[in-house]
Symmetry: C2
Subunit: 330 residues, 2 copies
DNA sequence: TACAATTACGTTAGCGCTAACGTAATTGAC
DNA sequence: GTCAATTACGTTAGCGCTAACGTAATTGTA
């Protein structure tokens, strides 16, 4: 039982394939009676357009791609959910590519998507250099970069003002009397990590505290990364009294390590995470964090990607403002 | 700058497109020197096979689909990660379809995937009836259902022995002296929820306790679903001393509600979740749970889907055994 | 040496669809 | 009534690739 094609429908109604194509795609050039007759027949024959053939002929596939470092990280899974909700509403399907934080895999993923002739791509949490990212993305008709500057007319960008978020957090900590504030920065290749580090630094300076590199430690964005980084930090500066962390996962990991080292949170050390992933309010102590509306970020990115594909004029790239959420940990 | 095609490469080396196709796909029928010459030229021209055209011509797209209720649920995001890791190794791309727990959207998603002419699909957490699921899935060349029985030769199945897991948990609770054990069952449409409920019932009977429907409450698998269900339970039976929950998210939600009601966990009420998602060990009290190797589940499902597509003989459908992890909450 | 089997290619056709360009019939303006 | 503009279709060609079938050259075998 082969799938029903345009031509099958055309034969059934006694029209040409082209006319059926026009009817099915809601395009002008078909009379109202014939149109409805075609649609009825197509329905009863169970006709489903073959997106592959359509893609080959029209060079537009109604298919999009999302490239992220790690779908099992709640930040990215929520981001993806927001994005594909919007895509589904527009009847587009989307490929999800996981890069495991590996720049090489990110390049491969983008190259593979290029072979799919997709209409556009969202790249979030890219670990590529500016030049490499631009090169990898330039082959697409449309692209939206999250937390990376746009480069070119068919490339859009949506960012979170991570710097401001980190500054707020530092200001809050200073206001609470904390003076030895450490920063667990993210992976070196993470732009949002660098922005948060910058915000940390500016926040300290704004509060009249010196920036001291000894209070900064990089980490992998995993559940043990935070603990590892924290161990290095307290080995160097046992008296730290606050930590701002790259994200919530890292923050929670750091809290575990702090407690194991005999320190209380927030008594001895205050901790602020970032993103406000769902479990941030479930851990004990509940996590103070710099909230980002992640799903909205995904929705906005996908909306703009679709608009870019339509060729419409885009408003200037928005910057999402994070918001400090104070809970128990700070 | 158009993308380079097979024919461009063919012209460059002075061979036919067919020969280049054979070389690029590693198929026999090309001499060793010509083959390497073709591959070199293809590389230097930046040739990337057009998967769309390949799909149309060969009716195999090297593309797969995964249909899940909610990618932002850590269970499914980890499952997806396992699956796409395997897919990537086989150079396949995958569509992720989110159904928001809606049977109607699940049908739409499957129908949309059918239009993509994908090589196979994994359906996890289906909320469709047996008949509807079989109908929706029968159009695919290959399918793997997670936690649903297979139906047909081209449909495989991978299941978790949820019933055994729930029985273990109940036995453990009874062993600890708990007698009024409640069950927060999942959504009515969830097969794994029904299996866990069955395990709960059998576990009680095995332990010599009566099954009492008043101790069972359905819930949505969300962060407030557990709390809601728990409120109903304690309204009916204030003296419950244990709860086994549909999954970890629900369990944590229930714990919150228990604490708000003035009960201590595990002092007054012991709680056991299911799945052991990463944050289960991060919440306080840390969560006792019925561990499932979710990533392995995803990897196995994808491996079997790929094998099914190759037409190889499959070993009988495996059943993953969960393992009770005892932490603080029980 | 003769003849089948194998290898290394090329040719043809077509996957299902749409872009681009017909063509015939109808409409409207003056 | 004339001519342009519009509408409602049909025809042709081709997207880039591969399946299926050629064909010529080489190899092996008795």
């Amino acid at each position: 039982m082969r799938n029903c094609t345009l031509e099958d429908v055309a034969n059934a109604v006694g029209a040409s394939a082209m006319t059926v194509s026009r009817a099915v795609n809601g395009r002008p050039g078909v009379g109202p009676e014939l149109r409805s007759h075609i649609l009825e027949t197509a329905g009863s024959l169970g006709y489903r357009p073959n997106r592959i053939a359509r893609g080959l002929a029209s060079n537009r596939t109604s298919t999009l791609g999302i490239v992220i470092p790690d779908i099992s990280n709640p930040f990215f899974s929520i981001l993806v959910k927001g994005a594909i909700d919007v895509a589904r509403a527009a009847d587009k399907n989307v490929f999800i590519m996981n890069t495991d934080e590996e720049p090489a895999l990110e390049k491969t993923a983008l190259a593979s998507l290029a072979g799919e002739a997709i209409d556009g791509v969202i790249v979030a949490g890219s670990r590529l250099s500016k030049a490499a990212l631009e090169a990898a993305v330039s082959g697409f008709d449309a692209a939206v970069l999250i937390n990376r500057p746009s480069a070119g007319p068919h490339i859009d960008s949506v960012s979170v003002d991570d710097k401001a978020g980190a500054m707020d957090a530092v200001a809050y900590l200073i206001g609470k009397g904390r003076r030895r504030i450490a920063c667990i920065a993210g992976p070196k290749a993470s732009v949002s990590g660098r922005r948060r580090l910058l915000g940390y630094r500016h926040g300290l300076e704004a509060g009249g505290l010196p920036f001291n590199p000894v209070l900064v430690e990089r980490c992998t964005p995993t559940l043990d990364g935070g603990a590892l980084a924290l161990s290095s930090l307290i080995a160097r500066v046992p008296s730290i009294d606050a930590v701002i962390a790259y994200n919530d996962v890292v923050a929670i990991s750091a809290i575990q390590a702090l407690m194991e080292s005999g320190r209380s949170v927030p008594g001895d050390v205050a901790v602020i995470g970032s993103d406000d992933v769902p479990f941030a309010s479930l851990v004990r102590p509940t996590l103070s964090t710099i909230r980002v509306d992640i799903a909205a970020l995904g929705r906005i990115a996908m909306s703009r990607l679709l608009a870019l594909g339509e060729g419409g004029e885009l408003s200037p790239s928005p910057e999402i403002s994070p918001e400090l959420i104070v809970r128990e940990s700070a």
